[in-house]
Symmetry: C2
Amino acid sequence: MTIAPRHILSALPLLFAATAFAQTAPAKPKTSAEILAAAPASAWKAVPDEDLLLLDLDSGARVVIALAPDFAPVHVANIRALTRAGWFAGITVNRVQDNYVVQWGDATETKPLPAGMVTPTPAEYERSLAGLTLRPLGYRDAYAETTGHVGGWPVASDGKAAWLTHCYGMVGVGRGMAPDTGSGAELYTVTGHAPRHLERNIAAVGRVLDGIEALTALPRGTEALGFYKEGAPRPAIVRATIAADLPAAQRPHYQLFDSASPAFGEWVTARANRKDDFFIRPAGAVDICNAMPPVRKMPA
Amino acid sequence: MTIAPRHILSALPLLFAATAFAQTAPAKPKTSAEILAAAPASAWKAVPDEDLLLLDLDSGARVVIALAPDFAPVHVANIRALTRAGWFAGITVNRVQDNYVVQWGDATETKPLPAGMVTPTPAEYERSLAGLTLRPLGYRDAYAETTGHVGGWPVASDGKAAWLTHCYGMVGVGRGMAPDTGSGAELYTVTGHAPRHLERNIAAVGRVLDGIEALTALPRGTEALGFYKEGAPRPAIVRATIAADLPAAQRPHYQLFDSASPAFGEWVTARANRKDDFFIRPAGAVDICNAMPPVRKMPA
């Protein structure tokens, strides 16, 4: 008996290839990929140029991050100020901890912060739910009373406060023991099973939309907490840019699937009830970090 | 203002370094690391030599996997047969999909399986709860009525059936579209946010106890589903061994924290209510994949 690896574990978030296959069996419920492919343009929301942070690494890779000013406005303003001052150029990835985070910042801890930053920075770990349109996910969550989506963002709430969930690929602000010690100069992204216990303890400021593999496939740090050993080679950020600062023709454009669209609800239901040819028993549920809003890159 | 990266995000599963610090503040509740460090020897359960699979890669790294015969006995017997026949020697890692799986097997799909295997292999996706002592985790779960632990294993149940949860580091059996097409020759480990929807759809056969970074830090595959491109270099397994087949002095020994121990319950409670110097607001809950039983390697 031989195995056909290319058919194994085919149930993937964005398996557009499945579309053609399913068209031959029209009686089946649509897969989440089919729903996504059929969604109208209005179901996608552009990430504003001012919220798109581009990190160019010395490996030649680019990591694209969407910032979330609706959730951490002061931190996001600080990150824009750091970017525009050129502060991120030359800083390094200092920590790669398996199943946890990849973290970058000033390894020397001596680089002065630029003017125009708010420090100490308020502890923007949550905000008021008021003013946000939260589409509830509709399934149980271990950590929060409610999870769901606001536009293209994964969110949790206790009915009064709301905060970004700490899922794979989300970007947070490193800090010291005191809550107001994270300025935005030290950032990390989640690279393992969602450490949801960090929510409301740390500022989440965005999400990696593209290029995360340039961070996740880095050699793991060998020291405590996954820090690189003193003297070990460290990947460097050679340039950081806010997309709005590029000439219009050079700006990359990304869109997030918008929870305000009816197609979004269909997509969540399909994610929770996978019925493609691989699945025998649909879960009947999905957790918020397995329901991250799809991203697409638009032509320039 | 400078940042102290080494103090950032210090809330880690096994931060034994925190012990000394906390001793100066005895009024605080014990951290999960302190509970673990203080647990009696009886709280740890040895992984049997017959259940310990050692994969030596051409990089020189060793990946250590605990097999779970209580959950997938036929698959585990097949994996032992494959190992003892030398079948895994020379096979390659063929798929590295970010935030999902690393998968290894016979890329040529032509290598004949050895004698002594049961094929087609029964679809061991779940078993009866009867005969298992499940310690309920005690917190909500999106996917299952109950999650908890059986010995050193993370388990979910609907009250009748029980199955291993598909958490980071768990090992599963690749298969084709038909449920009985996975023999154990094609294996993968979970390397991202837990794809819990795979539970009851695929056989989980074990857990990576050591060396997972030799798999998770591999370059991501560039083809659909994260497969490596035809002709791209593929990491190879040069030798696979069941620990029981080694001379006694050469066998590695691993232990799992045992859910039957009272210390285990204290550990879960501390994981759900982190109150060390970093945490401002304990979550009050933990999900099963953030409560993976701790592992320790014993001296030879």
